[in-house]
Symmetry: C2
Subunit: 426 residues, 2 copies
């Protein structure tokens, strides 16, 4: 079957899935969970084969590829937790009388088909399939060749599960042929949203090569600014947490900005606390007059290290901190530590990022921590959905208008009838 | 000044505009309205020059270019009506306690800079500038050379108005140099949304040549399906209104589908009513067995006539009507006439379009008629904003998280503190 034929079949199956009830979708998720449990041995065996084939892989990629029993059990528990989430489909967002008997509703509905492209990480197939089913969307899954056997085993289990339900197994399809990712990116007629899972350079490649909307971010250059009115007892743990709690995460900070008035007191303590956690520090000229560090260059301000490296700069005002962040930041998450509410308000209003925080760690920027139940991805684009995206990022809406013979001529011209435009109780 | 320099200055001014109060923005709109009134003579004179220069223009384009006193007065009234709209900025969409003292808010905020590209229609400069100011966005306006003098006169007036206020006149900039539209489309570092105003082919060109999100639609291929359970007393006026009330509009129908059971009765009446309004009709083979019409080809189903031409097809079920619409439609607006609620529900759920209507004219698909107060554009993309877009299409949101030293380590690991995730009253 060609990629286009597969996409057509998935789109067809997705139309059937789109109108399934919440109960039917939750039953399907339970059936998928049970089928994954029944196929667990085969999945782990397939993963073992993939791992043996991939000994030469870079260690980070290999770690993502490797699927042990614990990871698989976690992923299956994840399927059941998706079943417990509120159905994002069918939410009435607008309910309005335009005129007597002419009623407008804006109702959330599935997007259609998700195109999911991932490097390694075969457990992503499980998570994204569950999210797709819950949101009423079909999914075309394209994995790397290194995870092929695992993905095939997982996909076989998912389809065996769906075969027990009212949802067509064709709604979730694994692309196993040699078609390039580029071909999937061209299917804008059938695929409504691309979700890339992988490295920054991989996400950027996807963004640069498709007209389909992409949910994801290529960079997370996050900042922490310690204001002159900062409470240092809070500032130091926040700096340590923001950098070291999980340094590979996109919401970890890459740059620490410190107000010049507080720098002589704060910097030695900050440096000691960060170095104690193994952070390798770089500083601008002003910083290095206070503490002895490697120099930070202009390039550092625009770099996502993704490891235990951090650059420190000194600024003379909150305005200078905002200007630095809006120049070098990636619009992900930026935080201020200050007790001065006016300064905090200025920072929160003027930093152009999906997350703007005061007196807490940037690491809170996460769909689970925000209470969304699931995280589909984090978006650094300007238009919604922005920031951590829950299931609501996998739905759109349509306007349903119901009348009884209403025509526009009645509401036009010199004797136009006025609209009532009254919102009704939802 | 180069285009990039101009974009930087507008982006800078837009940052200042973004945090202006509703009162300040409304005062700026009143100042713009008054300045346009004061400059009316110069604007009309400039438009006269443009019109003299453009005698060779196609009549539709010429009609859009021509600005008389009435059109200008209407546009100025439009500026004042935008002032009366609710401010889309600062809306608290989520207000949630994550844990004691750790409070999350999702607040609407401006996008940044709008890139507006229009063919002819100099009054669009006035409308879009007003919408930009109200939504806290800067705007780079690029008009066609045919409207240059008018746009310059309007822009001069708008900037004179803004100069009286707290908002920088640089927030709204007219691009008058010879830079090609293509250059503006490449400024994704400074421009956050492109709004094209012009012909379908023009909008398609814009969509095909930018990475910046585009608010607009290239095609409006809308359908009306007359079910076998239709009330013909409603169906005929709805068909006539949907086609003829303003045939050049994107929400006018291009295809009429009729259920085979009702075709022998309905078609002669429908044809007579439509022909009486000057509609040129084409029919598929089944239709032409009932009424004598020019033949409709496969190409007709995919054509937006934009004039008084309409193709008629016969289908044997609502499912066939849905399949036809989902194949040939552009996802704009499609309607059914039926008294059968189960059939209507099937149609509304399964037709994949921004607007799905029952027993009313497709011409209602419009921001003003929906009660949005203003229409920024109509989008046929799948992701929100979809359908008629009001001021809410010009804003995004940011997550503001405020704590008092909260760090993620507290909520991680084997002794993780649970989140409370309690929504607070807004």
């Amino acid at each position: 079957m060609s990629l286009i034929e597969q996409a057509q079949r998935t789109a067809q199956a997705a139309q059937g899935l789109a109108t399934q009830s919440t109960i039917a979708k939750n039953q399907a998720l339970e059936a998928i969970a049970q089928a994954l449990e029944a196929h667990a041995e085969a999945i782990l065996e397939a993963n073992h084969q993939d791992c043996v084939r991939s000994q030469g892989l870079a260690s980070a990629l290999y770690a993502r590829l490797k699927l042990d029993e614990q990871k698989l059990t976690g992923a299956i528990a994840g399927v059941r937790s998706v079943a417990a989430l509120t159905d994002p489909v069918g939410e009435v967002q607008i309910y309005r009388e335009l005129d007597a008997g002419l009623i407008l509703k804006r109702v959330s509905c599935p997007l259609g088909v998700l195109g999911v492209i991932f490097e390694a990480r075969p457990d992503a197939v499980i998570q994204i399939s569950a999210l797709a089913v819950k949101s009423g969307n079909g999914a075309l899954l394209k994995g790397g060749q290194e995870a092929l056997a695992t993905c095939q085993a997982i996909s076989k289990a998912i389809q065996a599960g769906l075969a027990q339900t009212s949802i067509s197994p064709e709604a979730i399809a694994l692309l196993t042929s040699r078609e390039e990712t580029l071909e999937l990116l061209k299917l804008d007629q059938y695929v409504n949203l691309i979700i890339p899972r992988g490295s920054n350079s991989f996400v950027r490649f996807v963004q640069d090569n498709t007209r389909i909307p992409v949910l994801g971010h290529a960079e997370g250059i996050c900042h922490l600014y310690i204001d002159r009115a900062a409470n240092l007892t809070q500032a130091i743990p926040i700096a340590v947490d923001s950098k070291t709690q999980y340094p590979a995460a996109c919401n970890a900070i890459e740059t620490l900005l410190v107000h010049q008035d507080i720098a002589p007191t704060a910097l030695p303590e900050l440096v000691a606390a960060l170095q104690a956690k193994g952070v390798s520090l770089r500083g601008d000229t002003s910083t290095r007059q206070v503490v002895d560090l490697e120099p930070a260059t202009a390039e550092d301000w625009a770099t996502e290290y993704g490891d235990l490296t951090l650059s420190i700069g000194i600024v003379d005002s909150v305005e200078a901190a905002i200007a630095h962040i809006n120049t070098y930041g990636s619009g992900h998450t930026d935080a201020i530590v200050t007790e001065d509410e006016a300064t905090a308000a200025l920072f929160l209003a003027n930093v152009d990022a999906a997350g703007v925080f005061q007196n807490c760690s940037t690491r809170f920027a996460d769909g689970f921590r925000y209470g969304f139940g699931a995280e589909v991805g984090i978006s650094t684009q300007q238009m919604p959905p922005r920031g951590p995206v829950g299931l609501e990022g996998l739905v759109t809406y349509k306007y349903q208008l119901q009348g009884s013979g209403h025509i526009v001529a009645t509401y036009s011209g010199s004797e136009a009838k006025p609209f009532t435009h009254q919102d009704l109780p939802k």
